[in-house]
């Protein structure tokens, strides 16, 4: 069942006795949870008729005991089960045993006064398990998998329009880049943008620049650009911002190394006459990354790329062997590299 179709039924008050929401899209998971509770019972009944069980902390039997109970007041109970790890190949937390036989019995004869909801925030279940097969057969399975790039963009665009806001193509493109086409992140960030543009309902590129934080990869991309331009002031400033965001120096360095390795690979393959789509296939990466890398190394000689790469390798070695302070190794590399 598609997410939209099932949500429409829930909004009409048409409920299934057992749901399995399968997938990792946080926004859909949170929305489904909210709408289920909203439409299943009045808010004042929720304290007494809604039970939430995290199976990392309690056994499944606690949730099933609740599901078997008659509602305390009103027509139904809602029992929400998070982290149903027994449906996957992973092991349950130490000391917690999940009674899947009881669940089998329940699935074959669910209570008509309970809505039992499993939020399986996993990419897939272990379909070799009897219980995983049975729950997918007996429950209403709703996919909450992350949307593909184009779908996420459409969805967010629709939300912007439905709320009566306007965003030009350039701002929209910039917004999608900032949120990396991640729906959950996009929905969170839109709330800020809606507030900022409340007066004239126009969301500008500047608003996105000011309000939507760059992620680690985007900051790394900027650092690489500054390194290649030998702009040590901006490179070090961006690096320090990352440290303030509690990013680990070794992690930052590792990503930088990976990025420079990619630049060298793209340069070498381009030199051999490979076109961008072919390079993407050979390196097994998204074509967009190849496009960005090609842009960064235009008119750049190999020697400079190699020096940067070897300089970062040296910085990593010092970080990992405790030769000097971890936090300043990148800065030392940058100053040395800029003056070569």
């Amino acid at each position: 069942m598609t997410y939209a179709a099932e949500i429409a039924k829930i909004k009409k008050g048409q409920f299934s006795p057992v749901y399995l929401f399968l997938g990792t899209e946080t926004y859909f998971i949170q929305e489904a949870r909210k709408l289920l509770l909203e439409h299943a019972m009045p808010e004042e009944d929720q304290d007494l008729n809604v039970g939430t069980y995290n199976l990392d902390e309690v056994p499944l039997s606690h949730a099933l005991e609740d599901a078997e109970s008659i509602p305390f007041f009103g027509d139904r109970r809602v029992v929400i089960v998070d982290q149903p790890v027994f449906l996957t190949g992973e092991k349950a937390k130490a000391g917690i045993e999940h009674d899947t036989e009881w669940l089998e019995r329940y699935l074959n004869n669910p209570s008509d006064s309970t809505i039992l909801v499993f939020f399986a925030a996993y990419e897939k279940l272990d379909n070799r398990k009897k219980i995983s097969k049975l729950i997918q057969k007996k429950a209403t399975v709703v996919s909450v998998a992350p949307l593909k790039e184009a779908e996420a963009r459409n969805y967010l665009n629709q939300v912007i329009q439905n709320e009566g806001y306007h965003m030009d193509r350039q701002s929209l493109q910039f917004f999608f880049e900032r949120i990396e086409d991640n729906l959950s992140k996009g929905m969170d960030e839109l709330q800020k943008l809606f507030l900022a543009a409340m007066t004239d309902k126009k969301i500008t590129k500047q608003m996105v620049e000011d309000l939507v934080p760059r992620n680690l990869e985007q900051n790394i991309f900027d650092i690489v650009t500054y390194v290649l331009k030998k702009d040590s002031q901006k490179a070090i400033q961006t690096y320090r911002d990352l440290l303030l965001q509690k990013e680990e120096p070794i992690k930052i360095n590792a990503i930088l190394l990976g990025q420079f390795r990619l630049l060298i690979q793209v340069r070498l393959l381009a030199k051999k006459g490979y076109q961008q789509p072919d390079i993407a296939k050979v390196l097994k990466i998204h074509p967009y990354r190849v496009k960005l890398a090609s842009g960064q190394i235009r008119n750049m000689d190999e020697n400079r790329l190699q020096k940067a790469y070897l300089g970062l390798v040296e910085a990593e070695k010092k970080m990992k062997t405790g030769d000097g302070l971890k936090d300043i190794q990148f800065e030392l590399f940058m100053l040395k590299y800029a003056n070569q």
Binding site: D47, G51, S61, E68, F72, N109
Partner: protein, 383 residues
């Protein structure tokens, strides 16, 4: 600081204070017991941020043999300090704070020297304005606690239900607890001073706090209760018991209690408890812990089964059974907890339908207050 004290008496005091001290705390100083001595006596304090207990040992109470030699204060690691005091052999105990925050504990020939914490680093307890004092009859209030805390939730996902909802108004104290599967309600009359008779108080006190309070309070006549926005203080003689209050709105439980019934069963609470206990022997072995009660014209039967082990059936000896025939299933542990609160009284168990909560009330209410003592249990669907 230096003082002498009667060791057996001191053990009782530090054990009571230690009820508030947790070994798992993010604030290291709270793993300690605070002691402050002045010319009037010795104050012992312990806290885990949720519960705080202070006990004052007055110098004039001769049974403690308290002698303050030098005033001052110190914080000692509670668990090890308690163990040391217990293991000493003599009646008399001397505690003295030496240099570098080292405390000397001596009794007979044994002498300990333990590292301590500066008393100034111990957080202050909340100050509670004592203008509005409500006096509660101690034994009755302890009974109210014992009758209601059984129904508090242990699930932190619904924090409000981990507390007992206490409402004081119109000369009564009403205590309600529920975990959404069962409910306990007890209402008692109390004397409210004329100046406070117009006031009403609504507080949600964590069940854990009330359990500790009922364990620690001696059998004196009354216990004073004072309330602020987020704290409650219970004061009894030389005991000060603070608890944080739970924030939020407690669900309206009045609507949960049925006012009519279609089937009633009257029998002795202790007899029903024993029968339920027997039936649950097998249900506890099974996958789901459920027993079944069948009421018909000619008999009342309690049964339980475990597919792995077998079945149990018992015809109950009841005083009265009337109304519609009924078959209802429920968790026996909930009924056992409820029945224990009635002791050997006769109770009336009232049902409205197999899929609606049922109530247990004493046959003899001993009061004019409606629904003064009621236990309510949610059934489980019957297969």
């Amino acid at each position: 600081m230096k003082f002498n004290i009667n060791r057996p008496a001191f053990i009782k005091y530090i054990t009571d204070v230690q009820r508030a001290i947790s070994s798992r705390t993010t604030i290291p100083v709270l793993t300690g017991i605070k002691m402050v001595a002045d010319k009037t006596g010795l104050m012992l304090s312990g806290s885990d941020s949720d519960i705080s207990i202070e006990i004052f040992i007055p110098i004039e109470d001769e049974s403690n043999d308290l002698e303050i030699i030098k005033e001052g204060g110190i914080v000692l690691p509670a668990r090890i300090f308690n163990d040391i005091v217990r293991k000493m052999s003599d009646e008399k105990l001397t505690i003295e704070v030496g240099d570098n925050l080292q405390t000397h504990i001596t009794s007979a020939n044994a002498a300990f020297k333990i590292n301590s914490i500066d008393v100034e680093s111990y957080p202050n307890f909340p100050t509670i304005d004592s203008n509005e004092v409500i006096s509660l009859p101690t034994n009755l209030f302890k009974q109210v606690i014992q009758h209601t805390v059984i129904a508090t939730s242990t699930q932190e996902s619904r924090p409000i239900l981990t507390g007992v909802n206490i409402t004081i108004e119109n000369g009564t104290l009403k205590a309600v607890a529920t975990d959404s599967h069962r409910l306990s309600q007890r209402i008692i009359p109390i004397n409210i001073p004329e100046s406070l008779s117009e006031n009403s108080y609504k507080v949600i006190i964590p069940g854990k706090s009330l359990i500790e309070l009922s364990r620690i309070v001696e059998d004196q006549d009354t216990i004073d209760m004072m309330v602020t926005e987020n704290q409650v203080l219970f004061k009894a003689e030389n005991l000060y018991f603070y608890s944080r209050l739970l924030e939020g709105y407690y669900p309206d439980t009045n609507r949960l209690i049925p006012t009519t019934s279609s089937t009633n069963l009257v029998m002795n609470a202790a007899d029903l408890l024993q029968a339920t206990d027997r039936a649950s022997l097998l249900s506890h072995e099974g996958k789901n812990n459920v027993v079944k009660l069948s009421i018909s014209d000619e008999k009342v039967e309690l049964s339980g089964n475990s597919p792995e082990i077998g079945t149990v059936r018992e015809d109950l000896q009841y005083q009265e059974a009337n109304g519609d025939p009924l078959v209802i299933s429920f968790n026996p542990d909930y009924l056992k907890d409820a029945l224990r609160t009635f002791g050997h009284q006769d109770v009336m168990v009232s049902f409205t339908a197999p899929i609606r909560p049922f109530t247990v009330v004493p046959v003899d209410n001993h009061t004019d207050i409606e629904q003064a003592f009621i236990q309510l249990i949610t059934p489980v669907r019957t297969y």
